[in-house]
Symmetry: C2
Subunit: 260 residues, 2 copies
């Protein structure tokens, strides 16, 4: 790693978890990341990539709380970055661009509009190589290393980003995804879903106003992985039950183990 | 409890779990049951009813192993009985009657034949009042009592029996079910599913040759409970992954707690 390309901060310790920020350059863009690990961690351990949802960012408090729990109780390293146009990368233009398609009323049963889908797909296509460079970068840290297994966790836009990454990234050996669906307007997503090979736990909301039920079921059906599990619960897009988040811990413990 | 109606055996202790057998009379039929509890257990605790599948019986080894684990690690009482025409209640006639409809080849995508479905529905309708009498009986044991919560666990025919029981049994406050579906030939099942109110975790197999995918999804959709979760995995009827069985422990821990 060329020191001109990466800036890593000192660790900020809180409740036994060390948080570091870093920046790397990818294709002319600055990628801003946060990484959490147990205080004093040394040597390889499972690494969990966390992809935030649309309109959120790497410091979205519920995601950070989850990241800290994985570091504290599972002794994982956990990394989050700002997606294109989000967080430190947001400008009035990108914010307007990403927000506008969502302001339109959703037709019952139809899900988000075509323009919003296309915007998220553009983000996912850009995010995949960025995530790959971030994975290279953080595996150079001595408390991560390249010997430990790698998982991905993200729902909604975070799931789309994770699918486009994991389809071509054999280092990812388990993915917890959800709140996304196949739509004719974004055939690239279906194609990538079919190339997934890692075990997947996929969460859908039975009454999701943004993702039609049939689109989510079609996505699960198309996942190419031999091991895949669908979890469905009643409720809307933002109403994923807390026990599903607890269940992800079981899923990753099964597939990534725990850190030493 | 009239001592003429019930016969309870002495406890048989193994690995810290006490197993007792009992018999009660219900509508002129002798119901044979087994009940497991932690060795030396006293006072109320969560009670789990386990319903076996078609062609199995109360002593089906994988079910008994599960029952013993709930008793040992969760400190539950667990009860299993022979369904009508099964186990101690099987005769050459009932065995032939229950086996014959299953011998016919299954048409792809169609699921089990109408006659087999009707036979299982008859069993479920008879099993529900039997289970209710068993629940009354075992709640009279001092190591069970009536103050603890009650759960039901059963898949396939065991799920049909559980649905017909739980729909009219408010003592059941959590049910793990699966491998069943709604079919036009058995409208009583759909009706009962709609009356469920307890939290349900429902497991389906995505490639179930006996339960069409659409029938299982329709059953989940129809469940009347506000809290319900669908778990779907690839594979056939008999291929439910072991991690789903582990997941039931989390489900019951959430809803029934653990024994003292």
């Amino acid at each position: 790693m060329n020191p001109n390309e990466a800036k890593n901060s000192e660790a900020n310790i809180e409740d036994g978890v060390a948080e570091r920020s870093f920046e790397i350059e990818v294709a002319g863009e600055t990628i801003h990341g946060l990484i959490w690990a147990p205080e004093g961690a040394r040597g390889p351990r499972p690494l969990l990539l966390m992809g935030h949802g649309g309109g959120q960012h790497k410091g979205f408090p519920p995601m950070v709380a989850g990241a800290r729990r994985y570091a504290a109780t599972m002794r994982y390293a956990v990394v989050a970055i700002d997606a294109p146009g989000h967080g430190a990368r947001a400008t009035p233009e990108t914010q307007a661009r990403f927000a506008a398609p969502f302001r339109q009323p959703v037709e019952p049963g139809k899900g988000v509009g075509t323009r919003a889908l296309e915007v998220m797909m553009e983000i996912a296509l850009q995010a995949a190589p960025e995530w790959r460079a971030v994975l290279d970068h953080v595996q150079s840290f001595d408390f991560v290393g390249s010997a430990g297994p790698v998982g991905y966790l993200g729902v909604s836009m975070g799931a789309m980003n994770g699918i486009m990454l994991a389809a071509d990234e054999p280092r990812i050996t388990a993915a917890a995804l959800g709140l996304a669906g196949l739509r004719d307007e974004i055939p690239q997503l279906a194609e990538a879903v079919g190339r997934l090979r890692a075990p997947v736990e996929f969460a859908m909301q039975w009454d999701d106003e943004l993702v039609p039920r049939s689109a989510a079921l079609a996505l699960f059906d198309r996942i190419g992985s031999a091991q895949k599990t669908l979890h469905a619960n009643p409720g809307k897009h933002a109403e994923l039950p807390m026990f599903e988040r607890a269940g992800w811990v079981q899923f990753f413990a099964r597939h990534l183990g725990t850190g030493a």
